[in-house]
């Protein structure tokens, strides 16, 4: 077995689930004995990815979001957040800081935050089929 523990969640793209998703991942990650800063970074990155699904993937209604979380050897938290929404036409543009198609209540900083708060970050998107965000965070082992 390549991973030590895992969990899978599936929930509709309701904005009330943003806080549910980040809290669930934080609770799951608690067994890795993270620092408060590490936990804050993980919660922030998950919140950004789930919000993107809610705002951009399913702009005209509800769709399903899948969140898979695994603990890999070496104290690494591996997170995949996937939707079957509209996809992203221009990934390069979407990843630029301050770029948003989400209106005045969005800042366009989601991808930038995910990239800088996590150890690794990959986004794969197919227009018309959906988007998948894959993030990893290596946690420091505390003595």
């Amino acid at each position: 077995m390549k991973f030590e523990n895992y969990m899978i969640l599936e929930f509709p793209s309701k904005s009330a689930n943003e806080s549910f998703a980040r809290s669930a991942v934080a609770c799951f990650a608690a067994q890795m004995d993270p620092t408060l800063e590490e936990l804050g970074d993980i919660r922030t990155a998950v919140s950004e990815a789930v919000t993107n699904c809610i705002v951009h993937a399913y702009p005209d209604g509800l769709g399903m979001i899948t969140l898979r979380c695994r603990i890999l050897k070496g104290n690494v938290l591996d997170i995949v957040i996937k939707d079957k929404g509209v996809g992203i036409e221009n990934l390069e543009q979407a990843r630029k800081p301050m770029f948003t198609t989400g209106g005045s209540e969005r800042s366009g900083m989601g991808f930038t935050i995910m990239e800088s708060f996590m150890s690794s970050f990959t986004v794969v998107s197919t227009p018309g089929k959906g988007t998948s965000v894959h993030m990893r965070r290596k946690l420091q082992r505390r003595k």
């Binding site: 904005s15 009330a16 943003e18 806080s19 980040r22 408060l36 800063e37 804050g40 970074d41 919660r43 922030t44 919140s47 950004e48 919000t51 809610i54 705002v55 800081p97 005045s104 209540e105 969005r106 800042s107 366009g108 900083m109 989601g110 930038t112 935050i113 800088s116 708060f117």
Partner: protein, 105 residues
């Protein structure tokens, strides 16, 4: 969303509470905009002391408040930032656009 505010000598203080994400950002933006429009204060302090979590939606809240205060030649100040919201602001560069003050304990 939970928000309290007070106005003294033309200076407005708005205290935000709890978690700020996309779910509640619009309500925060509308409430703060309404207060700035109603009082046209010389300055507006957004107090984050009771904010336990904030994602990039909080940046949009601050940018909207900054836009509203700039329109009336007023000043926007952020205070009481815990580590997690502060890191989000630093990553976005907002800390270079808006004055950030330590909270008065």
């Amino acid at each position: 969303m939970h928000l309290t505010s007070f106005l003294q000598d033309g200076h407005l203080t708005v205290a935000l509470t709890g978690e700020i994400d996309h779910h509640c950002a619009k309500a925060y933006i509308e409430a703060i905009t309404a207060k700035i429009e109603a009082y046209t204060p010389k300055s507006c302090v957004l107090d984050f002391q009771e904010v336990t979590f904030m994602d990039s939606s909080g940046i949009a809240v601050v940018i909207n408040a900054l836009r509203n205060m700039t329109r009336i030649d007023g000043k926007l100040i952020l205070t009481g930032l815990n580590n997690q919201p502060m890191k989000v602001f630093r990553t976005s560069g907002i800390d270079k656009l808006v004055e950030i003050k330590e909270a008065v304990v």
